[in-house]
């Protein structure tokens, strides 16, 4: 038992150590991220002192880019499952070793989600009121309490799966199936649930007709399953280019077909929604009018949504053509769909739900500088986490960092390339 704990602590220490070591590109990248993180943290400290007045939010538009980013990132986290399904259900070989990168991305995304929710709170000092047992959790009534449970549960599941598999690889042991396979299947169901619950957060509000539509849930899943694997493709491309870790083209192309199908479904669902809003022309389409065409002289979101739609359409066309079997084009399509969906789910879903207000007032929302800094800080922190996770896991998966070379001169295996 004691030796087990000792080994595990050594494992953690070596992982922590390696996170601080790399070549100049690594230092430049990590340094830049740290600087942005610190600027964000500083901005958040100001927000804590002066209140959310430092953001662009108001009683009219009471959620802004924080919750928008949160919503997007829940989707990214949920999408890790899109790599797990082919591997564990269909026995896909190409993706087998790459699943762990998807799950690590999920962990980083959930960390960012939790950060975005926290910065959105007016009284973060009272977070403990949410903890079941010592606080008061309005479960199962409040969708937000569901969200807290499923997000934290998903975080734990993924940390367990990744941590266990990596530690086994480090020890050169074969992982015990019953110790992670049940969790993998649980995580698949759980991933769908985190995104559905997040969609229900909006869908459940009868007073906001723009959200109170059953299509929001399916659209959330479709857009998540587009943006998530797209991000994983980009991440794998980076791993391929900056480390010696070998990733086959075929793996990327498997992911491509996932992005391809999801994007087509996503655009189709968008078309369904647009038809419903504009053909019937009921009073309930005011938010959609504001989003797509502007309302009563307010056009704040119009350029955003048309950019998103243009990007999504271009991405869909590229993905549907054989052209995107070329990895350069695939990269372009992925980047376009990531940006397109980020806008569509953030500026395109969260903000217009508030405009006009239930009393018909039209007040624009524009994120403030301080708010933008906080967002950038959290994104940088997420990238920092993911980079660190990759920095640790790549040498472990390659066998360069393992229990057998514990005593060895470490400089050799710390090398990035």
């Amino acid at each position: 038992m004691i030796s087990f704990i000792r080994n595990y602590i050594i494992f953690l220490l070596r992982c922590a150590r390696i996170a601080f070591i790399g070549d100049w590109r690594y230092y430049a990248w990590m340094g830049a991220l740290t600087i942005i993180c610190l600027l964000g943290l500083n901005a958040y400290a100001k927000q804590l002192v002066h209140g959310l007045i430092t953001t662009g939010m108001s009683d009219e538009v009471s959620w802004g880019v924080y919750i928008a980013n949160f919503t997007f990132l829940v989707g990214v986290a949920a999408a890790a499952v899109m790599m797990v399904i082919p591997v564990y259900i269909y026995g896909n070989e190409e993706l087998h070793d790459l699943v762990i990168f998807g799950e690590l991305l999920a962990v980083a995304a959930i960390i960012m989600c939790l950060a975005f929710v926290t910065v959105d709170l007016g009284r973060p000092d009272r977070f403990w009121h949410l903890i079941p047992g010592i606080g008061q959790m309005n479960f199962p009534q409040s969708m937000l309490s569901w969200d807290v449970l499923v997000l934290n549960g998903y975080l734990l599941l993924n940390v367990h799966i990744c941590g266990y598999l990596l530690y086994c690889r480090y020890q050169n042991k074969k992982p015990t199936k019953w110790f992670y396979i049940p969790f993998v299947f649980l995580a698949i169901a759980w991933a769908v649930s985190i995104h559905t619950v997040t969609a229900f957060l909006y869908v459940g509000l009868g007073g906001r007709p723009f959200w109170n539509a059953s299509i929001v849930g399916p659209r959330f899943l479709a857009s998540a399953f587009t943006a998530g694997p797209a991000i994983i493709i980009i991440a794998l491309q980076i791993i391929r280019n900056f480390t010696t870790y070998r990733i086959k083209d075929k793996a990327l192309l498997t992911l491509r077909s996932i992005v391809q199908v999801s994007m087509i479904i996503n655009v189709f669902l968008l078309a369904c929604e647009v038809f419903k809003e504009f053909y019937s022309g009921t009073a309930h389409s005011a938010s959609a009018k504001y989003l797509f065409f502007g309302l009563h002289g307010h056009y704040a979101l119009v350029p955003w949504i048309w950019t998103a739609i243009t990007f999504n359409l271009i991405a869909m066309v590229i993905l549907s053509l054989p052209l995107s079997r070329g990895l350069r084009w695939l990269d372009v399509a992925c980047v376009l769909s990531i940006i397109g969906i980020w806008i569509e789910k953030g500026m395109g879903l969260v903000i217009p739900g508030f405009i006009p207000t239930p009393l018909g007032a039209v007040v624009d929302y524009r994120p403030s500088f301080n708010e933008t800094l906080v967002c950038l800080g959290i994104w940088a922190f997420g990238f920092l986490c993911y980079t660190v996770f990759l920095r640790m896991s790549v040498p472990i998966l390659q066998g360069r960092l393992s229990k057998t070379n514990e005593g060895q001169i470490e400089s050799e295996m710390y090398k990035l390339t």
Partner: protein, 222 residues
Amino acid sequence: MAKLDPSAQKKSDHTANYWLGGLTAVFFSLTIFFAFNSKPHVAAQPEIPLVDKKFLDTSPWRQTYADLVKAKEDLSDYDCYACHDKAKPPRIRYDTNQKIIIPKEHANIEMSHGTHERNNICYNCHNEQNLNTLQVRDGNVVKFDNIPQLCGSCHGPTLRDWEAGAHGRTSGYWDRQLGDINRLSCANCHNPHAPDIPTREAAPGPHYLHEASSHEPSKSHR
């Protein structure tokens, strides 16, 4: 990016050292920046002026005869026979359009009770026989301090609402066991000669949170 030859390796090491040194410098400058800058990056909020006191005044618009009696104020205006002759009830005169001619002694009276100026006979309410009292159409005499009975003789449903507390201003206690309800009388709000509520100035409208920073609220779209 396979194996680098030793000289390239050395060069790469140097670059890493420069980056680390640079980062250290940047971190320390950030420290200084943070230490001297704690103002949030938002426009200072404009101070919203306090609302004018007149909009907080909740006193009745008008005082009734009963109020004047209670406040022991000058009631000489209600002593009609200081000017009029008890034996000679004043005659009402009309112009060629059948519009009432208001004598200059009563120039402050605006006669607009009812539509089409049909309700233009003073003795609909004032008692011809005793100007210091009022009278209901059935001939019952009403004192100046009992106006609801007079008004209610024509405005029955309104009187019924008023008695139930559903018409007119109330204050005090909704729970009659804990305190009294204070109910204003007809003439506290309505001028008997021109009972329509006059228009008045509205108190200032809402101020928006980010008015200063180009978040112009929707000005009236109507």
